[in-house]
């Protein structure tokens, strides 16, 4: 039997999802939402989910509180909406918490993205322990101090050996409590995503922000299909180097552009660490399309044909429009290489991010 509340809950979820989807473009392009790495929940302001009423604004109203402090002392943390006594029960949601995974799912639904079909080995998993509870036996290193003393205090009061004037609490063997753990499987990665970005002078902050947002959602979509995913980041101007995630999104270099340097580095790392037989390899390259010259373009074609395209599930090239870039590389690739797993996409501005994600992931690679 479906519990009655499940239906109401589903109804609420549908309403929230509907509201978010209505304005998906705006929500996913909010850069600050994806600011913190490792944060799994995002708060999305959903308009009109709260039932409106004729009511006083709480800021205007003020209220009555209790505690120490002189006049003028800040309360620290806002008072509850409606502030206590006499206000009506129940809280009001202005922000709805949605997990990134759910958000990614919504993007998938909105863009009608097909599921990715992984190749290669089944996913592997390892085992890791997690503290979940309390038990009566265990090693001294895991003793829970608070729970142990609480038990001891309890025993002493009930046996009458507790003296409030001399509050001495001595735990005995039976009072000891220890933290306990459960084994949980952790997936082992079998997919790797390379993010390559042009950081030459012509790539401005807005261009990088677009790359950051787009790669964030691409990353999450791929992650939703594999149990574990590794990411590698490479930046290049005239030369390429591998960097960590933070640096990837903040570096700003100047000078010329030699795209082949990045392709070369990516090929080397991939061949060394991620043999194509065992790994699902994804490469995304973002640039404004200005390359050093036709000579280097030739070098790029060669690297793509011989090393990257044969190994990768998908190679995506995203060209971000910039004021100074010529954007010639896009056309060059289009003319010189035809491969099923090479996808080209042009990103004019923030509003084109969704369309570009669709370009890259619309084939279910």
């Amino acid at each position: 039997m479906v519990r009655r509340i499940e239906r109401d809950r589903k109804r609420f979820d549908d309403i929230v999802r509907g509201k978010i989807k209505e304005d998906l473009k705006r929500h996913i392009t909010r850069g600050e939402m994806i600011g913190k790495q490792g944060k799994e929940i995002v708060s999305i302001p959903v308009p009109q989910i709260e039932l409106p009423r004729f009511r006083y604004g709480s800021k205007e109203q003020g209220g009555v509180g209790q505690g120490p402090g002189d006049v003028g002392t800040p309360l620290g943390g806002g008072p509850g909406e409606g502030s206590g006594a006499g206000s009506e029960p129940g809280r009001h949601i202005r922000e709805v918490e949605v997990s990134i995974a759910e958000m990614t799912q919504m993007i998938g639904e909105a863009l009608e993205l097909p599921r990715i079909r992984p190749k290669g080995a089944e996913s592997l998993s390892a085992v890791r322990g997690r503290y979940t509870g309390i038990r009566r036996i265990g090693p001294e290193t895991l003793r829970s101090f608070k729970r142990t003393y609480r038990e001891a205090l309890r025993r002493q009061i009930s046996t009458g050996s507790y003296d409030p004037r001399r509050p001495l609490v001595v735990p005995v063997r039976e009072d000891m409590r220890y933290r306990s753990w459960k084994d949980e499987p952790v997936p082992v990665a079998n997919a790797v995503v390379f993010y390559l970005m042009d950081v030459s002078g012509s790539m401005g902050n807005e261009q990088k922000e677009i790359v950051r947002i787009e790669s964030f959602w691409i990353d999450n979509w791929i992650r939703a299909h594999y149990d574990g995913v590794q990411s590698r980041y490479i930046v290049h101007d005239a030369a390429a180097r591998e960097v960590d995630r933070e640096t990837f999104f903040s570096t700003r270099e100047s000078g010329g552009t030699k795209i082949s340097s990045a392709y070369e580095l990516a090929s080397e790392i991939a061949e060394r660490e991620y043999p194509a037989s065992d790994w699902n390899l994804y490469v995304f390259h973002f640039s404004d399309g200005d390359n050093l010259g036709t000579g280097d373009n030739e070098r790029c074609y060669q690297l793509l044909r011989e090393r990257l395209l044969p190994a990768a599930n998908l190679f995506g090239y995203g060209q971000v429009e910039s004021r100074s870039g010529t954007g010639a590389f896009y056309g060059a690739l289009e003319r010189h290489i035809t491969a099923e797993n090479l996808i080209l996409s042009q990103i004019r501005d923030r509003d084109s991010i969704l369309g570009s994600i669709k370009d890259f992931l619309g084939k279910g690679k």
């Binding site: 519990r3 009655r4 509340i5 239906r7 109401d8 809950r9 589903k10 109804r11 609420f12 979820d13 309403i15 009109q48 989910i49 039932l51 409106p52 009423r53 004729f54 009511r55 006083y56 604004g57 800021k59 205007e60 109203q61 003020g62 209220g63 009555v64 509180g65 209790q66 505690g67 120490p68 402090g69 002189d70 006049v71 003028g72 002392t73 800040p74 309360l75 620290g76 943390g77 806002g78 008072p79 509850g80 409606g82 502030s83 206590g84 006594a85 006499g86 206000s87 009506e88 029960p89 129940g90 809280r91 949601i93 918490e97 205090l153 309890r154 025993r155 009061i157 009930s158 009458g160």
Partner: protein, 501 residues
């Protein structure tokens, strides 16, 4: 599914209730149901009733409760509903001592529900009535579609604070459609003359009296032209009677109004009721029920429910302390003219007439007071000082709430303002045929605190979709009188000029 009460808990219930009766508490038969945390969250999301009409906000509430339970932020220990028999719920995973505490607490609530005057008009078979509402709403959903009914529920719920809080114990039934409120015959503006022969006429129908009668009729007629004759605070009732609704829509609006009236007394007695229940669980546990091994858990739990934080007044805490204060004051005779006149602190501190009227007094107070009168009469300067109450306000410069005042009168005034009319703005229907165009005119009785404007505009849209013709709300924005109008497509704002007092 609820489990039957175990033998151990049944025995406990008997024991607790025997003590409660011994203290003088009196309540309806109480039925306990033991639920696991998912079930208790579900029941809590439904406001305590196992059967409610389908609505997304219950789902929203459930998600909130479950999440805050999962994070360990809150746990529902106790829930009790005003019904005969009274229903109360126990969390299966609770310690025995917690169940004991909950039962003692529930006895307090049960007694308050049964005897406080605010609840005298509430439907004591509300559990059945709610289930009844649920099946009616479900039937309408099958017939008219979920969206249509849900949309109407949303609109009704956003208006459900527009009821007459001063008439809680006499729920008015809507007038049957077609019955006019006028007894006067249509058309006759002339006073009724008694038949008289010509020469007697000026005696039987004296001209002065006839003139007075004519004037009276004219006055009545003028009054009746105003619609409603007097400003109507029960906006929901007015809409139910006069908005162009289909029968099922009228029925849904009526049900939501009935539920709003049923719940309103609980909101108006939070401090007194929670305080009363806490007062009694504390008294019963510490004097009679606690086993020494349970003291730690009890103290931990009790102090948890009494916790205060600067920005939030805990109604249980304020309530329990007020009840204790009243009991002590009447036990020691610390009230009346002599007490008030005395300004010697040393004398006051040891004042004890040995009156021992405390118990009698608190039982009398729990019968005749709601939060407003309770605070008005029993909050003392001494109490405010001892418990560190203050008023706070929003400081726009620093963008945070700051303590504004610790003065007794300021605290009392603020508290009373928050409690009056349920902390809700008073909004009345002033004219149901505004400008003679069938528009609705609502007037906000301004008391110095403006409405939340964005919500007010949205709510106005909801009123309009019930009333169908344009609706107007006179209120104050930035201390200026304004009229907000919504005609179904556009919002208009104009400076209000007409003085409507």
């Amino acid at each position: 599914m609820p489990q039957p009460l175990s033998t151990q808990l049944s025995a406990l219930q008997e024991e607790v209730e025997a003590h409660a009766r011994d203290y003088g508490l009196d309540f309806f038969e109480t039925i306990y149901e033991v639920l696991d945390w998912e079930e208790i969250n579900e029941v809590a999301a439904y406001g305590g009733y196992p059967a409610r009409y389908p609505h997304w906000r219950f789902g929203m509430e459930y998600i909130e409760l479950s999440r805050s339970y999962a994070y360990g932020l809150s746990k529902i220990y106790e829930m009790v509903i005003n019904n005969d028999p009274t229903y109360a719920y126990l969390l299966a995973a609770n310690h025995y001592v917690d169940q004991k505490l909950v039962m003692a607490h529930v006895c307090g609530h049960g007694d308050f529900f049964k005897h406080n005057f605010m609840f005298s008009g509430t439907n004591r078979k509300m559990l059945d009535e709610m289930a009844n509402h649920a099946s009616r709403v479900r039937r309408y959903m099958e017939r008219h579609g979920i969206e249509a009914v849900e949309g109407l529920l949303d609109r009704c719920l956003s208006l459900d604070n527009l009821i007459d809080y001063s008439a809680l114990h006499s729920l008015r039934a809507p007038a049957a459609p077609g019955t006019g409120q006028t007894e006067e015959e249509e058309g006759s503006r002339e006073p009724k003359r008694m038949r008289a022969k010509g020469y007697m006429d000026s005696f039987i129908n004296p001209p002065a009296a006839m003139e007075a009668e004519r004037a009276r009729k004219e006055r009545v007629r003028k009054e009746e032209e105003r619609f409603p004759a007097r400003p109507e605070r029960d906006v929901m009732l007015f809409l139910q009677e006069h908005a162009p609704l289909r029968n099922w829509e009228r029925d849904v609006l009526g049900m939501m109004r009935e539920e709003a009236y049923y719940f309103a007394p609980q909101g108006r007695t939070k401090i007194a009721n929670e305080g009363w229940a806490s007062f009694w669980h504390s008294r019963m546990m510490t004097e009679r029920l606690l086993h020494p091994s349970e003291v730690i858990d009890y103290a931990d739990h009790h102090s948890g429910t009494m916790a205060t934080s600067p920005g939030r007044l805990n109604p249980s805490k304020v309530g329990i302390e007020l009840w204790r204060d009243i009991e002590e004051r009447w036990d020691k005779g610390r009230h009346g003219a002599d007490w008030e006149a005395c300004d010697d602190y040393a004398v006051k501190r040891t004042w004890d007439t040995g009156a021992m009227k405390g118990r009698e007094k608190i039982f009398e107070v729990r019968r005749h007071y709601n939060d407003v009168t309770f605070i008005d009469e029993f909050l003392t300067a001494d109490f405010v000082r001892r418990h560190g109450l203050f008023t706070y306000e929003f400081d726009r410069r620093t963008n945070q709430y700051v303590i504004a005042d610790r003065d007794f009168l300021a605290v009392k005034e603020k508290l009373l303002f928050m409690l009056t009319n349920f902390g809700q703005p008073t909004i009345e229907v002033a004219d149901g045929n505004f400008l003679n165009r069938g528009e609705l005119l609502l007037v906000h009785r301004f008391e110095g605190v403006p409405l939340k404007l964005d919500q007010a505009l949205e709510t106005l849209e909801h009123v309009q979709s019930v009333w169908k013709r344009p609706v107007n709300l006179e209120t104050f924005v930035d201390d200026e009188p304004v009229a907000l109008q919504y005609d179904g497509t556009t919002h208009w704002t104009q400076t209000a000029t007409a003085d409507r007092s």
